[in-house]
């Protein structure tokens, strides 16, 4: 379980002043929940994940991860798919996917098998011997998804994992993710700026907006599961949710124009 309690984050600007990036953010993600955070670019979504994992310290408030206050880097059975792929440029796709398994001491043959399975799942089966520099941006991102999924952490933080992908690849991977989550139950905190994706995947959608970013709404998504992602757009309930969430995003979008 993850809990944000009145978290505020300030960064120092290049001019030397302090600016609030997140303001008084509170929410909880329950065990096995699929929680999606939506918000416009620059509202502090990536910062939110970095805070949750203890990569940067909070300025005010507290974050509680599985009952413990986050004070340093969280590394217990969690996965983080960062916005940039963050692969090792000197390791092949397969070695990149295997590295967390290697860290966990998984025997070599098993490690290979697990990594291959996920390379296939994200469509990189034929590229396992490539170096990241030989992959496109979207392929690098898929490799980083496979790297996290292959070691199967109980809690996964994802920062726009399907952002740079085309509609078809994205839908396939969304379905893969949903299947996985349904069979293996995990706690997922998923960042996106795609409203359709948010509603299609989440149990809950948290809308963050504004400068500084703050929680504007916490909307449960009552759509039944398993969901047919490809046909959701025609669903009346879906359309209502879409309109509703859109209204919380609107002011921020306008002020950015």
């Amino acid at each position: 379980m993850l809990e944000f309690r009145n978290v505020t984050k300030r960064f120092e600007t290049p001019g030397g002043q302090e600016v609030n990036v997140l303001q008084d953010v509170s929410f909880t993600v329950d065990d096995d929940e699929f929680c999606v955070v939506v918000g416009p670019s620059g509202c502090g979504k990536s910062t939110l994940l970095n805070l949750a994992l203890g990569l940067v310290p909070v300025s005010e408030g507290q974050i509680i991860h599985n009952g413990k206050v986050v004070e340093s880097i969280v590394s217990s059975d969690v996965g983080y798919i960062t916005q940039d792929a963050n692969l090792l440029p000197w390791s092949t796709v397969l070695d990149n996917i295997m590295s967390p398994l290697e860290i966990r001491g998984v025997p070599k043959a098993e490690r290979r098998a697990q990594a291959m399975e996920w390379a296939e799942a994200v469509g990189l089966g034929k590229f396992v011997d490539f170096y990241p520099g030989q992959l496109s941006g979207g392929m690098q991102k898929r490799c980083s998804i496979a790297r996290t999924m292959a070691y199967d952490p109980a809690m996964i933080y994802m920062d726009e994992p399907f952002g740079p992908l085309d509609a078809i690849t994205r839908t396939v991977l969304q379905e893969t993710l949903l299947n996985l989550w349904q069979t293996r139950r995990k706690t997922i905190l998923f960042i996106t700026h795609d409203l359709v994706e948010a509603i299609a995947l989440g149990d809950t959608v948290i809308v963050i907006n504004g400068q500084p970013g703050s929680v504007k709404a916490r909307i449960p998504i009552p759509l039944s599961r398993p969901r047919e992602i490809r046909h959701l757009a025609a669903d009346t309930e879906f359309v209502e949710l879409h309109t509703k969430i859109w209204s919380y995003l609107e002011p921020g979008v306008e002020s950015m124009a």
């Binding site: 990569l55 996965g79 960062t82 940039d84 860290i103 170096y131 520099g133 690098q140």
Partner: protein, 285 residues
Amino acid sequence: MSTRIESRSTAVAVDGEIVAPKTSSRASRDRKWRLKVSIGQVVAILAILAIWQGISGAIIPAYLISSPTSVISDTITLLQTHTMWTDISVTAQELILGYAIGVVFGILVGVLMGSIKFLSGVFEPIIAGINGIPKIALAPLFLLWFGLGIWSKVAQASMIVFFVMYYNVYMGMLSISPMLVKLFQVMGAKRGYVARKVVLPSLSIPIFAGLKASVPFAMIGVIVGEFIAADKGVGYFVLQATQQFDSAGLFSGIIIMVAMVLIGMRIVTFCQNRVLFWQKQGHGR
């Protein structure tokens, strides 16, 4: 690590079929260009040698600048003497030892300073201050400390190499992506794993930059040491030749030094190609 531009010369189809790159015409254009450059280089070198040969004796006295033909014949004769090979082996020893010691300490101190903020805070200005010393001015001091033998030259060379390596490695440490390191910590990696798999490979480019730049600097250190006081070595030989107005011998000595530096560079390049293979595979090839 960041997103890259997706236009590539090596085309890769979406369904995973690897399509051969359409570059045959481009490759032949590249080859023609390289040939043209090579021919240009040979012509330029021959022209310089011809001018040198022409003015030697005719415009400038031969004892000052010698001439290509006498330098070549002198070098060949010299390489058949036992003393020349003793000189070469002494200089090579000093060069290798000075280089190795400077490299090891440069990397060590660079890594330490890059990983411990307190250390770099305290020592950065001190190291910068010491680096401000024209290091050649220390040669008499090294002679005093380490005597006439090879060690005063080794000290001189390693002193110079140290700073080249140190600055490369220290800057390399500062350029390691903190996000990549933190991400591996989230995955559960311990210090040793991060050091082996993230930090060391990240440093490979600055380390090789330092290794390459250091070879000629090590030679400068060794030769300066031999100029100050020695009874063996290529630098000592050159000094002797100069004092005897043997300009052909002087140039031969210089040619031998250049050859030694080039061999050193080749060895480093060879290692670099084996270690940095992943770097060649990038988009911008």
